[in-house]
Amino acid sequence: MRTAERTPSLTVLPEMVRDASLLWLAGGIVGVSFGAIAVAGGLPVWVPIAMSLLVYAGSAQFSAVGVLLAGGGPLAATATGLLLNTRTAAYSLAVADILGNGRLARLAGAHLVTDETVAFALAQQDPLRRRTAFWVSGLGLFAAWNAGVLIGALAGGALGDTDAYGLDAAFPAVLVALTLPSLREDAGVRRSALLGAAVAVAVTMTPGVPAGVPVLLALAGLVLYRRGAAA
């Protein structure tokens, strides 16, 4: 279609940075609260910092630290975090062709696979925009998250209660905005996602179900996807 394939990617860069910067800001603030919670709970300062650099998965980090601080023991903390992160395997399959072709791009890109970066990438139309969106949102979020955690671990609870800013509503809203194009476009995806979300919410409300399981069970919603595509 267009002769200069790179032009669209460059022209959308400011737009992507603008959208992603909000994500970075929110990620940074949540990072501050993670660092603060971990240290306030009695963990050494290096624990949240090392965990954020090496594990780099917000919900798993919060859960693992939560289990540790509640005295649940290292095994339970690890199991909870890993169970929550199994979904990244599914994400990595979905974005495998987006990361890039080089070995380094794939190895480094894999570490940046998160809910937000995958949503950002998949919301784009063509492959080049997807790749740009993944890397722009991913590198920035990694920097913002770790900077936030560092500040939170050192400065403690100076930020106060982040719920007062409505930050807990910002992340679901980010995902709404990013998944809506796919949901609009494809009735099969829409049906699957609705069923999956209903399953996940119902299972989350069920006592005794480990964290991470409800969202995985949402994949059962894909039974409607096959049917939708065949119709």
């Binding site: 594990v55 690890t78 979904r87 994400y91 974005v95 894999a110 809910d115 995958v118 509503a169």
Partner: protein, 104 residues
């Protein structure tokens, strides 16, 4: 090795292994267009499930009204094709305002 170090390392290695599944298989296993489509759909299903549980629940119970109300406003804004910034700040703003007004 302290138990905390072990937790961090196990989480780091395990999580990275999950994240490598796609890149390692890519190029080695030929995925049909149909499977690729299903994977994209699966990612969207996971994200929507995550946003639904994130919007509605907290610690296995109902999250209260302020958060889902904010997310709902964000959803309406997104549906009306408002800019991303407006969607996210709108959701956070409504939730913050409701809390300020005493709605949990």
């Amino acid at each position: 090795m302290s138990p905390t170090v072990a937790v961090i390392l196990a989480l780091a290695v395990g999580t990275y292994a999950f994240r490598l599944v796609g890149p390692v298989l890519h190029g080695r296993v030929e995925l049909s267009a149909r499977v690729q489509e299903l994977l994209s759909a699966g990612a969207v299903v996971l994200l929507v499930a995550l946003l639904a549980t994130g919007a509605l629940t907290e610690g296995g119970g109902f999250a209260g009204w302020a958060r889902p109300a904010g997310v709902l406003v964000g959803g309406v804004l997104a549906w009306r094709r408002a800019p991303f910034v407006v969607v996210v700040l709108g959701a956070a703003g409504v939730t913050a305002a409701l809390r300020l007004a005493g709605v949990a």
